[in-house]
């Protein structure tokens, strides 16, 4: 088991290293005028020259990459114009637009994004499994067809459009959901009132991201449950005298968990992308919000940092999923 974890960790780190290199090359090095890119559309010569001065673009790629990598582990001083900003480990660079450590910016947004992502993921998986189970047990009947159509329809619209429309309709037109931005869970005031505000500030994100995710998981778990309902061990369970409910819950659905965990990790990157739109439109100042604004501001250090952070989360998620898989499916340990 330990060896399994160790091997997967090593593999994850290798992927991450490649991601760092690719990201660094794509965002922070490469054959183009970075200062021009960072300067963006509203570039003024002054701004351009400041940025140019702050970049050490003339050095060889490997030495720049080495510096970036060492910054990740021990921190470094990042020159901005004449001064240099100290950026503590793990240093992901310094935002040009905000002149602050990208790590700090990301950590600042983490509570928001984590709240959104965890809530949405839980909602997706539970609602998805439930939908899948209902559809699978009513296969080819009206309920099943209805669930299939709705879930497919849900995935037919670009999520970015859905978020905007949801905001316009639910927040603006009908005033059902809150669009006032994130309310921290731990702040002044009573815990319960904070909890209520926190929940109501995140509810739109959870519902949108969660229910749209649930559509995918629903269709996926329907297939899995239909499949496992045809397995011999389900017949065994029925032959034991178990009720249909118990067979479904304890046997058929149980078998669907490992593939769902696998798909969940594959989908983690998608979930994080989804938060970008939600956070932007609903004014939730998480990492997605940071990333979105960095696109507009061409703040490449922040874009690179959020990319790496997302990649690290995906790798970490994969590792956790491996552990979870080993728990869920005892056969995994053997491999």
């Amino acid at each position: 088991m330990l060896r399994h974890v160790a091997r997967r960790s090593v593999a994850g780190l290798l992927v991450l290293l490649a991601t760092v290199t690719a990201t660094f090359w794509l965002f922070l090095s490469g054959p183009f005028d970075r200062a021009r890119v960072m300067c963006g559309v509203n570039c003024t010569p002054l701004r351009y020259h400041q940025i140019r001065a702050s970049l050490s673009a003339d050095r060889p790629f490997l030495s720049q990459l080495g510096e970036y990598l060492s910054g990740l582990f021990v921190g470094r001083d990042v020159p901005i114009g004449k001064i240099s900003v100290h950026c503590a480990a793990p240093c992901l660079g310094v935002s040009y637009a905000q002149r602050r450590s990208v790590t700090a910016l990301i950590l600042g947004g983490l509570p928001v994004t984590a709240s959104i992502a965890i809530g949405a993921a839980l909602l997706s998986v539970t609602v998805g499994l439930w939908l899948g189970a209902v559809a699978a047990t009513h296969r080819n009947r009206v309920v099943d067809r209805l669930i299939l159509t709705v879930t497919m329809g849900a995935t037919a619209v670009p999520f970015a459009v859905v978020v905007v429309l949801a905001y316009l309709l639910f927040v603006i037109r009908w005033n059902i959901l809150s669009g006032d931005g994130y309310h921290p869970l731990f702040s002044d005031g009573s815990f319960w009132s904070n909890l209520a505000s926190w929940t109501s500030s995140l509810l739109p994100a959870w519902l949108l991201l969660g229910l749209f995710g649930a559509a995918g998981y629903g269709r996926f778990s329907r297939g899995l449950i239909v499949e496992s309902l045809g397995e011999d061990y389900v017949q065994t369970a029925v032959a034991k005298g178990l009720s249909e409910r118990a067979v479904l819950r304890r046997h058929a659905m149980r078998a669907a968990y490992p593939p769902i965990v696998t798909i969940f990790t594959l989908d983690l990157a998608g979930l994080l992308s989804g938060t970008i739109f939600i956070e932007q439109i609903f004014g939730l100042s998480g990492i997605g919000y940071l990333a979105f604004n960095s696109i507009g501001e061409r703040d490449l250090p922040v874009l690179a940092g959020t990319t790496l952070f997302g990649a690290a989360l995906v790798v970490l998620g994969n590792l956790l999923a491996d552990l979870l898989l080993a728990r869920l499916d005892p056969r995994v340990k053997l491999q």
Partner: protein
């Protein structure tokens, strides 16, 4: 010389207008729509009152308390450091928290420069090369410590530091050793340009005459910065929490996200002729999506009722006007900005051809495709100085008001007279930017109809501004926007139409018309040296008329207006015509 950066809503317009020095914004021109309340331009007289004293006159109907929320599409990512400040949005916010030597007091629709921290607008000696300001008594920081003139001097010194690069450059041009001194972090405290002989007196030494000094003294860098609060290792830190001297102090500041201001108990209204302290709190929501913010404002529910939002686009305008009280909730005011279609006088030497270009320009169509709403975000204009500038003379050189889709027949007639039918107009546009493509198509149609030949060179949006700024670009028309730093012709002509600029900037085109007229240059030199600002204002007005009638170096596309949407419960909303931003200090919650 540059002008203050004004960040705006209508992103679509970026890339259409190429501003040589400023990034600017709103577009679109004229013809009053009649639906919105269109405020009138401020009176064109000189607006200085050295004798004004606090407290500021009450805003009628104003109440105390509540929170005003400002939905802001900008992010304030560079912080609020007074030495760095050079954006209209940031400066207007700073006006709530920091006081400067001088500042503008609202009197109806006009804004009058009055002493703020100083007892007067400065006294000039030494043949115009020494300015002395005396601080009022009883001034305190938010923590109760008294304000000293040395702190103002320190603040000015900081503005020279390359570590804080965002701010103005006038101090470098006019102050003694301005080009040599590199700020207190590198060169220490010893700087000959400023002097604080005692706690109350600030002396500024110039290398050349600067009659506009009282205006300049309203910039944030003329606010006090206590040296003890400055982090010399990381000077940028100060911008996260500049110490308050105004009616509000920073309660929390998350760049790109939120800025919360609460009352500053140490602020003494008796010394302040400009500011009020009505709301308990200002909540600036930064980096907002314009779409969601504008929809909240249209709907006017919950916190939107106590919010304001600057800027308006055409769909928002339509929706707002169909809301029951929408028209009442839209306040517009003058912006110190003009949009120009600069004609390269080197390549279009015949003034009749230039005038034909003016006559053929399809103003109205371009306003439409760029999403401007005439009368709300732009007003037709025919002068180089925008409405509200002291000394401005309203005249119309071509007699068409610059508001329709041009007069192809009249233009053709002029071309025929000049013997230049088929004159080739060369234009630059961003082929990857739909609005720019649309504008190009409209221009092509309009100019060809008037008898011109029209060729357009595509570039990518990313390159448009740099290409257009290249003096040797193969084009003869450039679209641009200019906003003044203070309401005076000195913020316009020396920066835009001064002949020597061409030689000084071989790689840059600050004088985008490349107007090199000795009589204009002489007039600029003469007026800049005029100590009497009242007389100078008058002369700038005359110069405007001369340049436009004699040289016609630019088509005036329109003057900017700043529309602000307010929630139903927000009162006291006016647009600060010196910055084109909402004048926050008069706001209250009703």
């Amino acid at each position: 010389m540059t002008a203050r950066i004004k960040l705006t809503v209508a992103v679509a317009v970026v890339g259409v207008l190429t501003a040589a020095c400023t990034a600017s914004h709103h577009t679109g021109p004229s013809v009053s729509s009649g639906k919105a309340q269109v405020a009138h331009a401020g009176a064109a007289g000189l607006q200085l009152d050295p004798t004004a004293r606090g407290p500021a006159p009450n805003v009628p109907g104003a109440k105390s308390g509540g929170t005003v929320t400002v939905l802001d599409t900008a992010s304030l990512a560079t912080g609020l450091d007074p030495a760095n400040a050079y954006t209209t949005g940031g400066d207007e916010i700073l006006n709530l928290t920091v006081r400067t030597l001088t500042h503008y007091q609202r009197r109806g629709d006009s804004y009058v420069l009055v002493p703020d921290l100083a007892t007067n607008l400065g006294t000039v000696t030494d043949g115009g090369l020494t300015w002395t300001f005396r601080l009022k008594d009883g001034l305190r920081y938010e923590d109760g410590t008294p304000i000293s003139a040395a702190d103002v001097a320190y603040s000015i010194k900081r503005s020279f530091a390359p570590e804080l690069p965002g701010g103005t450059t006038y101090q470098k041009e006019f102050f003694v050793d301005g080009l040599k001194y590199r700020g207190p972090y590198d060169d220490g405290d010893a700087y000959a340009g400023v002097d604080a002989p005692d706690g109350k007196t600030l002396v500024i030494h110039l290398t050349k005459k600067f009659p506009d000094m009282p205006y300049f003294a309203s910039f944030p860098l003329f606010s006090p910065v206590p040296e003890s609060k400055d982090n010399k290792k990381d000077p940028q830190q100060y911008g996260l929490h500049p110490i308050a001297t105004g009616p509000y102090r920073i309660a929390s500041f998350k760049e790109s996200h939120e800025l919360v201001l609460t009352r500053n108990p140490q602020w003494d209204p008796g010394t302040d002729p400009i500011r009020h302290q009505y709301p308990d709190r200002f909540d600036f929501k930064l980096g907002q999506s314009y779409l969601t913010a504008s929809q909240q404002m249209i709907e006017d529910r919950g916190s939107a009722q106590t919010s304001i939002l600057s800027g308006i686009d055409a769909p928002t305008y339509s929706s707002l006007m169909s809301a029951p009280d929408g028209a009442q909730r839209l306040v517009t005011g003058t912006e110190p900005c003009n949009q120009f279609l600069y004609i390269d006088t080197r390549k279009v030497p015949d003034v009749r051809v230039r005038e034909a270009i003016g006559l053929a320009t399809p103003h109205a169509s371009v306003w439409k495709v760029t999403g401007s709403v005439p009368g709300v975000t732009i007003v037709p204009s025919t002068t180089l100085l925008p409405p509200g500038t002291p000394g401005r003379i309203d005249f119309d050189p071509l007699g068409d008001g610059s508001k329709g889709d041009g007069d192809p027949a009249a233009a053709r007639k002029l071309l025929v007279q000049a013997g230049s039918v088929g004159f080739k107009i060369r234009w630059l546009y961003a082929s990857d930017f739909p609005v720019s493509v649309n504008v190009m198509q409209l221009f092509k149609k309009a100019f060809e109809r008037a008898g011109f030949t029209f060729t357009a060179t595509p570039v990518v949006a990313e390159q448009l501004s740099a290409e257009s700024n290249n003096p040797n670009a193969p084009i003869n028309l450039r679209l641009g926007n200019w906003c003044s730093d203070w309401p005076s012709g000195s913020s316009w002509f020396p920066a835009l139409f001064y002949g020597p600029l061409i030689k000084q900037n071989p790689h840059d085109a600050p004088n985008e018309s490349f107007l090199d007229a000795p009589d204009v240059d002489a007039a600029i030199n003469r007026i800049e040296a005029t100590d009497d600002l009242r007389s100078a204002a008058h002369q700038w007005g005359e110069l405007d008329k001369l340049v436009m009638t004699k040289y016609y170096p630019a088509v005036v596309f329109g003057s900017g207006r700043e529309p602000v949407i307010r929630g139903a419960e927000v009162g006291g909303l006016h647009v600060d015509s010196t910055l084109g931003e909402p004048f926050y200090t008069d706001l209250y919650v009703s």
